[in-house]
Point group: C2
Chain length 380, copies 2
């Protein structure tokens, strides 16, 4: 762990500076988006995505952000933004994105240090980056100093409860969309079922398509080693979240003792958490979700760590934001096309061409919700 | 890190069992309690405590719990309990406290793993233990298998902004109450000020009273080492939160290189976080706050870790609950009498006799708020 403090110096700067782009107002809306019932080994059954949209107004300009949950905690995230973050950053300079991130982190520290607070910070941070792009008339990837590129995408199911024929039908759909990789959930109580499913998917996709597996923290390290070894012969591209995120030493052991690369990230809620995995050589692929990791600002820090350590990067959900972020990475192997998709609620859904995606060219994040399509799902 | 999973087996049990003490209703109320303005190096200025009280009704019995923040996040904590936890555990068996804890942890996992979620889980868990005590007609310490004892208490200021004369007046107050120990905040920008203040306090209290210092995560490890060494000559009982809680290796280095014992705990939000400090030998004193650490259930686990590793234990705030918890510890060195106190809102404030406290003998936690005294501070 690098010796670090929480950046109090940044806070001093923000208060000394004259505000040039004063934050005037922050508005949030809460939606409950129905999902086809699905599930995984770690989070159980999932049938709703909570979506909180955010608009941040500063000197006549508006930045748009959002955050999400997989069904619980969304109203708490909204309450944290409305009652605590909005009054805190109102009047601050929207151009000082890093300083505002530090301010939110510090002032929410007592109930924060990741977890739910990171989901709230993310919504504001995404809006600040969007506003920055709108102001500079540049797409997000360009603000990050990157060039647009084609990113390979993989089809990702949340399919643990699906019977085998449903799993194979889903996989066929991924192949039809031209994805060069597909991911399957594992963690059925009976190990032979996991093995049958992975074997059947490998037979269907052939050797030319990458196959990832995701255990969603189901096991102890010993179990993860045993369960993972049964699957190695099927040629896995990565083995995701084999055990709980707190057990970094366990991940490091799996990374040492197994041939398959270990992937983690969606459960890490700050650059500090990513740093542990990098420093303890506990993962080969960092999957960076700018919502669960506290925003674009925090995710850039995680990307930079990956570059410095020579690790591969990928994304988690957040398909649209991640297309920008991964362009700023040295070794982005895959963007996840998630089983949840915001497509039907977006003005411009992300296009997949030959199994690849590109970042948008609009100023800012390019992510704009269609208010009419969201309206039926507004909730109190 | 011990190889671990999140206890899915417990969840299977809870669903198979017939519920004997069905949870029928959970009610919460939100209060903003004014504090004399105070502050520390990590959290900045503090002038409000948020209090969320909780009552849990099951088969004609009621358990009482609460949770708190130091001014931000309270409405989000309440929203998490009302909208997510209450529907989740409604109908479950209130006697299955560990299983309900596991259920809350798992189902809030995506936005959880500590942080704000632990503050919400704590309120319910405290109420479940209270209900258990009410039902068994035993005080909490007895439910924990402990015997009541006199616990030495220390006077604790949140006094970084206080001028020196105010700091000394506060210390005199602590001496008048007979406390065998006092704690002072450090982390003023100018190191000589910290030193002057600590020297003056030591001169006032003499050698017979223990003196703790608390940096509230102000520094990098290098700074913490330099700043701490300037103070060692004043005979410190412990050096609290010298750097950020994520930097366990930094704490371990300080523990190795300094003579003063390192103390941590209030910023750790799960037994997993405590375990890292224990396994990496990064602290000599664990300060366990049953609210910030996710309840009595989680705190018992941290106490057990301390016992197994031969570490000392102390508390953080939560004076009333901690008097029970510390009785269940093998080496409880001090209970903190915090600058915040719930005394004026309690039916029976904790009594300090010769600088010592004892747990209550009433059934359950013994903690009952006085509704009339809280009423003026109710907020929407």
């Amino acid at each position: 762990m690098r010796s670090a403090s929480y950046g109090e110096r940044n806070l001093e700067e923000i208060h000394e500076r004259e505000s040039h782009l004063k934050i005037e107002r922050i508005e949030t809306d809460y939606y409950r988006l129905p999902l086809e019932p699905m599930g995984d080994a770690g989070h159980g059954a999932i049938d709703t995505e909570e979506l909180i949209t955010l608009s941040l107004h500063a000197e006549g300009l508006t930045g748009h952000g959002y955050t999400y949950t997989i069904g619980r905690g969304g109203r708490a995230v909204k309450a944290l933004i409305d009652h605590d973050i909005a009054p805190l950053i109102s009047g601050q300079d929207a151009a000082q994105i890093q300083a505002i991130w530090d301010l939110m982190w510090q002032r929410l520290l007592y109930v924060g240090r990741g977890g739910l607070a990171s989901f709230a910070i993310a919504a504001v941070d995404v809006a600040l980056w969007d506003l920055y792009g709108v102001r500079e008339e540049k797409p997000l990837y360009a603000l990050l100093g990157a060039e647009a590129r084609d990113l390979p995408a993989y089809g990702s199911g949340v399919d643990l409860p699906k019977p085998l024929d449903g799993l194979l039908a889903q996989t066929e759909g991924f192949l039809e969309r031209g994805f060069p990789g597909v991911k399957v959930k594992i963690g059925r109580p009976d190990p032979t079922e996991d093995e049958q499913r992975i074997r059947a998917v490998r037979e269907l996709i052939g050797d030319g398509v990458d196959l990832m597996v995701d255990a969603n923290m189901a096991w102890t390290t010993d179990e993860a080693l045993e369960r993972g070894r049964r699957l190695e012969e099927y040629g896995l591209y990565w083995y995701e979240e084999p055990t709980i995120p707190e057990d970094v030493a366990g991940h490091a052991r799996l990374a040492r003792e197994m041939d398959v690369p270990i992937a983690v990230g969606e459960s890490l809620h700050s650059p500090h958490e990513f740093r542990r995995y990098v420093e303890e050589e506990a993962a080969a692929v960092l999957q960076i979700d700018p919502i669960t990791n506290g925003g674009i600002t925090a995710s850039l820090e995680a990307l930079k760590m990956a570059d410095e350590a020579g690790l591969k990067t990928s994304s988690h959900y957040t398909d649209e934001l991640s297309a920008h972020l991964l362009c700023a990475s040295e070794n982005p192997v895959y963007l996840e096309k998630h089983a949840f998709a915001l497509d039907e609620y977006l003005q411009e859904p992300q296009r997949v061409v030959n199994g690849h995606v590109r970042p948008t060219e609009t100023s800012g994040t390019g992510l704009r919700f269609d208010a009419e399509r969201l309206a039926p799902y507004a909730a109190g």
